[in-house]
């Protein structure tokens, strides 16, 4: 009797979410990007179709951020201009998308006006043709104003806007519904809240294929295993037919990796740890590649060399291992 190899049969697949809109679709992007659609565990090509490769968005901010030198030196000539910064990320560093973080809006920080924030979004839309992710500063009150204005000003562009959270999802969901954008549903490393938030957002009539999950992550050495197991459970739920866990997943890799001591501590403090810059790049790249294995669809990253390493890894993982 021939050996019969048993394969997992999955009942369902991850939702597909398409970001951006071309001229024909009412936007100004040169192309759209679709994530998700996986009918198997990450890169188990032999068990189901994985129609879209994971993508990398590079982070741009509306004001010059207080980043470590290893990062700053890659963007030193453009960091004051979000448009040129985004352009550099796409043209020189191969970013699939741009992730614009409007930290300048923070009332505790630069407290830039709503108009300035909208202008930054428009500047980036002008400068690059890739789809755009826009996230507020984290101050609920200010974000409400800023993101509503951004949603309206960029109507038709099919942005990915964030963040919606369990206590604060209604105004952003409404704005995304009215102006036809996608939404980031962010939960605090908690799969129950992750699922509940997706339910709450879909109850406002947002289709599940316009939601992207941000499960919150920890970087390598800072709780990445919690994120890993939550993402793994999310994927298993999606494959078993749990629609409220079936959205693609994004990970804030750059933010988490570059705030670790290991990524930034100078060699003088830890002579045994090796070159600071190389260490930071690897910290970000390894965090990203681990999360790819857990089921990440969209990685939000910072260092061009880390991006290059991760994209190379994605290419290899997307070579079919079907048998």
């Amino acid at each position: 009797m021939p050996l019969q190899l048993l394969k997992e049969k999955n009942r369902a697949a991850v939702q597909k979410v398409t970001l951006g809109a071309t001229k024909e679709e009412g936007g100004t992007r040169t192309h759209t990007i679709t994530i998700g659609g996986d009918a198997a565990l990450p890169f188990h090509h032999f068990e189901g179709e994985i129609p879209h490769r994971p993508v990398v968005a590079m982070e741009v901010q509306d004001i010059e951020p207080d980043w470590p030198d290893a990062l700053k030196k890659c963007f030193v000539d453009v960091m004051k201009e979000p448009g040129r910064w985004a352009e550099k990320c796409v043209k020189e560093y191969g970013a699939d998308l741009i992730y614009l973080k409007l930290d300048g809006a923070d009332p505790e920080g630069a407290n830039r006006s709503v108009e300035d924030c909208v202008a930054a979004v428009k500047e980036v839309l002008q400068a690059v043709g890739v789809p755009l992710i826009v996230v507020g500063c984290g101050d609920a009150e200010k974000d409400k104003e800023v993101l509503e204005a951004v949603a309206e000003a960029a109507a038709g562009e099919n942005l990915l806007l964030g963040n919606a959270e369990q206590d604060n999802y209604k105004s952003l969901t409404a704005a995304c519904l009215v102006h036809k954008h996608n939404i980031i549903a962010r939960s605090p490393l908690d799969i129950n809240i992750c699922k509940q938030l997706n339910i709450l957002i879909t109850e406002m009539n947002m289709p599940p294929n316009r939601i992207v999950i941000d499960p919150s992550i920890g970087s390598l050495g800072y709780g990445i295993e919690y994120a890993y197991s939550i993402m793994e459970r999310t994927r298993l739920g999606a494959l078993q037919g749990d629609k409220m866990l079936s959205m693609p997943v994004l990970c804030t890799v750059g933010y988490e990796a570059w705030r670790t001591k290991e990524a930034v501590a100078p060699v003088s403090d830890f002579p045994g740890w090796g070159d600071t810059e190389e260490r930071g790049i690897l910290w970000e790249a390894v965090t990203a590649t681990a999360l790819l294995q857990a089921g990440a669809h969209l990685l939000l990253m910072r260092h061009p060399k880390a991006v290059a390493l991760v994209k190379e890894n994605i290419e290899k993982l997307m070579v079919s291992n079907a048998y």
């Binding site: 049969k9 799969i191 129950n192 699922k195 509940q196 339910i199 739920g237 037919g241 409220m244």
Partner: protein, 262 residues
């Protein structure tokens, strides 16, 4: 957990009359109501009184499919009626059912394979329903072997260990629960399990209480599907809770609502 709505059955007078008069309204109303309540498949049973079982089955399948996309569970002992029903089903159906008798097995397993349908196999034969778990399991094993023999994927086989009313055969319930648990050890991948839950409370008082309690107990033993009164809200809420507590679905605050809508 697959909830199969039991209500479209000629045992109920409104359905019996609808079949006799070929009046689609009551049938379609129950299809809609059960779907809304959270059923994800609909049992279709022409009932004992109808003479033309083939014609009645074809008519029921057609009128139900006019208003519902749910999987249909064709429930009759008349093999011809099942085959004609299968021909009309727009998506893979569930055949309800075969016994563990060889002549039935030889007809119904190939039929399921031919139409890509799932098949409910009852742990009974000409000798009737066994009293104990061991005999039920022996019959289940024959059904599992038949799946292998005729090429029915094991996950398309539903073993029904058959529950009897609590006021007639109280000693059966523990044996059924034991069977449910052990059926999963018969093969890998394991066959699925199903029960007609309402039978546990035939002619008893507090039927809903008996039904939902037994459902929870059976789910704890791994039950995969149940033919139930899907419009019994408390029963559906119990199923939702059991699905969370046996860790088959991720908890969220709206777990009851989600169970009914997915």
């Amino acid at each position: 957990m697959l909830i199969i709505g039991e209500r479209i059955n000629g045992m109920f007078n409104d359905i019996k009359r609808a079949i006799q008069e070929r009046d689609p309204a009551p049938v379609q109303e129950w299809a809609r109501r059960q779907e809304q309540a959270g059923a994800r498949a609909l049992d279709i049973n022409v009932g004992p009184a109808v003479e033309d079982k083939v014609g009645a089955m074809k008519w029921l399948v057609e009128v139900v499919q006019e208003v519902s996309d749910l999987t249909l569970c064709l429930d009759t002992t008349n093999i011809k009626a099942i085959e004609e029903g299968l021909k009309l089903c727009k998506k893979p159906a569930i055949i309800n059912s075969t016994s563990a008798d060889r002549e039935k097995i030889e007809k119904l397993f190939p039929l399921a394979v031919e139409y890509g349908a799932s098949l409910i196999g009852l742990t009974m034969n000409k000798n009737g329903i066994p009293k104990d778990a061991d005999t039920r399991l022996a019959l289940a094993m024959e059904l599992v072997a038949a799946a292998d023999e005729f090429g029915l994927p094991m996950e398309d086989l539903y073993i029904d260990p058959l529950i009897l009313p609590a006021n007639v055969a109280q000693d059966h319930a523990p044996e059924v629960l034991k069977t449910l648990y052990q059926v999963k050890l018969l093969a890998n991948p394991a066959p699925k399990t199903v029960l007609g839950i309402s039978n546990v409370s035939q002619n008893c008082q507090d039927r809903s209480l008996l039904n939902r309690t037994f459902l929870a107990m059976a789910m704890a033993c791994g039950l995969d599907a149940a033919i139930v009164d899907a419009c019994d809200e408390e029963l559906m809420a119990t199923a939702a809770a059991a699905e969370v507590l046996r860790n088959r679905t991720v908890y969220c605050d709206s777990f009851v609502k989600v169970f009914k809508s997915q």
